[in-house]
């Protein structure tokens, strides 16, 4: 009797155990099947990030795109580089063959018929000059030509003051219907160095979009235009350089998220030399002909690169207070590092900007 009861107990126990293990097995199988399904559905059409660098407009141009295949990415990037290459031919200050050189050679003589791109970029430059009250002046050429940051030559004061009369954007004659640009005074020079790279980033981004790219980033040196989201669904992330970095490696002061926006930075550390402790850099104040003194670095964010490029220069020249006012007036976002190294930001980017602790 006792034995029987024991056997019965064992039997019952085993059957219950089998039942439990079966339930566990089925649960596990279902879990694995679900896991597999999730893994497979993660990449229904595998999108990857492609990157290419070219040297154009005397600087480094890097394009990133998200695309389904390398062929699609290559095709679109080739068109984007081509668009920049075309602008390089039209707008190069140093090439005799560019349309810009033709306009400058004919200063005070006659107007020059130009392509729609050249007309548009000069039009935008005049707009930036007007909006900034001449803090950005696209006719800075006679002054910028006096400086050489490779040979570290500081021009003499007499030369600087003599050329000041030639710096005045109001003396540009734009006949939009005829697509003709004229400079009214002999010796005037348009220098698109503070706007052409941003404009090129815009045009390259448009070329990418026209060739089926939904998400990409074009960086013409520090003038960056980004659109769409990356393949991981996140916005593009751009680092803002520390204007007083110590080492040789890129030191980042802050990072900012960018989606369907452009960013440009003007800094006194890009091209400069120091004489007797005084820093002479390439961002000249059109009103004095000498480097602007109020800031170390200015980053501006807006919808297009043509605006961020020109207005980062304008804000730099205006200095932190007036610069902030201009950004507010235009509805742009930005970050200013003033001459003491103090950081000022517009309220709109508080949540998008992240400062690095170690800088």
């Amino acid at each position: 009797m006792i034995k029987n009861s024991y056997t019965l107990h064992v039997t019952r126990y085993t059957s219950k155990n089998k039942c439990t293990s079966r339930v566990t097995a089925v649960t596990l199988l279902t879990a694995y099947c679900l896991l597999l399904a999730v893994l497979c559905s993660c990449s229904p059409k595998k999108e990857s990030l492609y990157r290419k660098t070219m040297i154009l407009m005397d600087t480094v141009v890097t394009i990133h795109v998200v695309a389904d295949s390398e062929e699609a990415a290559d095709r679109a990037m080739a068109k984007a580089f081509e668009a920049i290459g075309k602008l390089d031919m039209l707008l190069n200050f140093f090439s005799d063959k560019s349309e810009l050189a033709l306009i400058n050679r004919n200063a005070g003589v006659s107007g020059v018929r130009v392509s729609p791109e050249t007309l548009e970029v000069i039009e935008k430059a005049v707009y930036a000059s007007e909006q900034s009250g001449g803090a950005f002046d696209v006719t800075i050429g006679p002054e910028s030509s006096l400086w050489n940051f490779v040979t570290r030559a500081k021009p003499d004061d007499k030369a600087v003051s003599e050329k000041l009369g030639l710096v005045n954007y109001r003396l540009i004659d734009l006949a939009k219907e005829k697509s003709v640009v004229a400079l009214k005074k002999k010796g005037m020079l348009i220098d698109l160095g503070g706007i052409a790279k941003g404009y090129a980033a815009d045009r390259a981004a448009e070329a990418l979009k026209r060739h089926g790219i939904k998400s990409g980033l074009v960086a013409v040196a520090g003038d960056i235009k980004a659109f769409g989201l990356k393949q991981d669904g996140k916005p593009w992330r751009v680092g803002i350089r520390n204007p007083r970095q110590k080492g040789k490696d890129d030191e980042i002061l802050a990072t900012i998220e960018l989606r369907d926006m452009a960013i440009s930075t003007s800094g006194d550390y890009e091209r400069f030399f120091i004489i007797d402790g005084e820093r002479f850099h390439h961002i000249l104040d059109p009103r004095t002909g000498y480097p602007a003194r109020g800031c170390q670095s200015v980053s501006v964010m807006a919808k297009d690169g043509v605006s961020t490029d020109s207005f980062s220069t304008a804000v730099f020249v205006l200095g932190p207070e007036k610069g902030m006012e201009l950004l507010k007036h235009l509805g742009f976002e930005g970050m200013i590092v003033d001459k003491e190294g103090k950081i000022h930001i517009t309220p709109g980017i508080k949540d998008k900007i992240e400062f690095k602790r170690n800088s």
């Binding site: 660098t53 480094v60 980033l217 490696d249 930075t265």
Partner: protein, 130 residues
């Protein structure tokens, strides 16, 4: 219990489970390969086209030429530098040794990139302005 007995003792469910586990493990290996950092290397591009790729942990000297100029690249102790360049201002030589980043020869249209796949994730940015 021998192997044969063990196999005989399994149910169909056990076997399916075993095969599924194997498949999941292989998929795991494949995914890890994608996620884990690859060994770092030095890439050289001329006019945007990849011309050379070398591992960073092998010391060597390389001559790089383009229709616009040439330079000599030295890789040593997981660092790279340009030693001889045909351009007049030699900015690429002045940059010295770098362990991560880019050396650019503008006149020669040559770009040397020292791979940055070991970059910490929080510092990772797509581009730098300024």
């Amino acid at each position: 219990m021998s192997l044969k007995e063990t196999v005989n003792g399994t149910t169909l469910g056990d076997r399916i489970l075993f095969i599924l586990l194997l498949i999941v493990s292989f998929i795991g290996i494949f995914f890890m390969k994608e996620v884990l950092p690859q060994p770092r290397d030095v890439t050289i591009e001329v006019e945007g086209k990849l011309t050379h790729r070398y591992p960073l942990d092998t010391d060597r000297r390389v001559e790089v030429g383009s229709p616009f100029g040439h330079l000599t690249l030295e890789i040593k102790d997981r660092k790279a530098r340009v030693t001889g360049a045909s351009c007049p201002n030699k900015l690429c030589e002045l940059q010295g040794w770098i362990s991560r980043g880019v050396i650019i020869c503008l006149p020669g249209r040559i770009t040397v990139t020292v791979g940055g796949s070991e970059e910490p994730k929080d510092r990772k940015v797509d581009a730098i302005t300024g």
